[in-house]
Amino acid sequence: MGSLIEVRDLSKTFKVSRRGKGIPGMVANLFVPRYEKRQAVKEVSFDIEEGEMVGFIGPNGAGKSTTIKMLSGILYPDSGSLRVAGYVPYRQRRDYVSKIGVVFGQKSQLQWDLPVIDSFELLKAIYRIPGEVYRRNLERYTEMLNMGGFLNQPVRQLSLGQRMRADIVAALLHSPRIVFFDEPTIGVDVVGKEVIRSFLRELNARDRLTMIFTTHDMQDIEKTCRRLLIIDGGSKVYDGSLEGIRAKYSAVRQLEVEFAESLTVLPMEHVTIQDLDAYKKRFLFESAQVEIQDLMNRLLSEYPVRDLNITEPAIEGIIRRIYGGEEV
């Protein structure tokens, strides 16, 4: 048995029309259209196992949307192979899409003018969901997301957070095996985001539902995913755990120390010392060159230390550096 999702050397190129300047250019383009090729996805490969929660990130235009659209069967790939849950998405569309759910944070699939429950009933018919399964899912999810109060309200009257919760349930009613989330918390307030994240974590833990997220909100990733796939310029640049990315990319670590008295610390090899205030100093060093244990022992034995604090560099900062094209 292979993995739930198998992607091998997936590529996709778009033809982008290139126009000359001004009206002459437009006219010329009308008769002799000129195109240039833009490779959106370049030979990307990865596997995802059942029950994984994977964060799929990259800057705008990196190719993550294109990859997700190929995974969900919306786009045909140019080359490479793609197999999800035993299906080739773009060839077996109708059978395949009933096994997946997709949430677009920016594009609701609910009927704007009608009560939420009407959209759910319509989805029940579209997906041919058996009555019992439908009732069980609806009851369970609406309770978990505390949606009882607004099931009978028209979608246009809902707050963004309520609408997003309704959209997530809409994508889950037919018991999909894999769910794709595209910016699932965009525009939602802090409390609302936390409700959604803990709901998804619980769903993953209980049902082993496989979830793939694309988002620009690193908090979403940190709080839900264990695995990160970073794509930039159409290529995969990182595939591994959240902790792994810290080890791999964040060479520089920092230790903040508060001393009992104002003092001067003697210079140490490979360590940069910054004064924060009279008692506090920050020690910057590379984990490859300095063992944090050694540094701490040395400080504790030689100086009167009141407090010690190791700060991890934020994932967000690391990601920004990767996007910036830093050499690995």
Binding site: F14, G61, S65, K69, S72, G73, I74, L75, Y76, R93, R94, D95, V97, S98, I100, V102, F104, Q106, K107, Q109, Q111, W112, D113, L114, D118, E121, L122, A125, I126, Y127, R128, D182, E183
Partner: protein, 269 residues
Amino acid sequence: MRDNTLELIGLYMRTTVRSWFQYRVDALLRSVAVFLREAAGVIAIYFTLLKFDNLNGWGLQEMMFLYSLLFLTYGILIIFFTGLRDFGAMVRTGKFDRYILRPRGLLFQMIFVNADWFAAVGHGGLGILLFVITAGRVGIRWTPGTIVYYVLAVAGGVLIQGAVFLFLATLNIFLLETGSLKELLYYDTRKFAGYPISIFHKAIQCFMIYVVPMAFVNYFPAQFLLRKPDMAQFPEIFLYIPFAVGVGVYLLAYLFWRFGLRFYKSSGN
């Protein structure tokens, strides 16, 4: 698994009716507005014709009968083809992605997922009204034979215009914006179809028979029932084939649609 396609169609219909008629007074007024807008065009022609007595042998009542077919077919058409009429916007905004993600046929969804009921009530209502006024006065003998012919002709007319909508929708996949082409190929052609096509230049006649076959929506069916002398300049076979033309062009448009879908590119986020 039990096939619930009919149940789904019913549910789609209920959903579109409820969406379009959310605000009852507004819905009523808008339907009336569409009705009046179209009726104004008919009234203008009515007064023009009062001056002329007839147009190539077509009297006032007969002209109105010709018109009724146009409105009636459009009223039915728009119940099923609103999704394709608005397909361009759906492609540009990426909303079409959602339909790809649902386990149903794409054309099936486009046909049933939306219906412009205001246009259906406005156009269809006017078509029925004109038919009721004129059907008994233009000398048609309504026998089982002519009734069957009439029903088939209406179905053919719906299919012909449906084919034009489907063709233009598919073109959207390649061109993204086809508004003016639709104006030219459909709405302008339909204005011409309000008159007996024998009054136009040969080039326009050919266009309406062989390119966008709107002549088979109302002129030839009306000729079959009315037998006006200006039919002499067209092959008689045209009287018998409106339904076949409808099925034929619709199939062609459907093949083009199947071909075009492969090139769907979606839109960026």
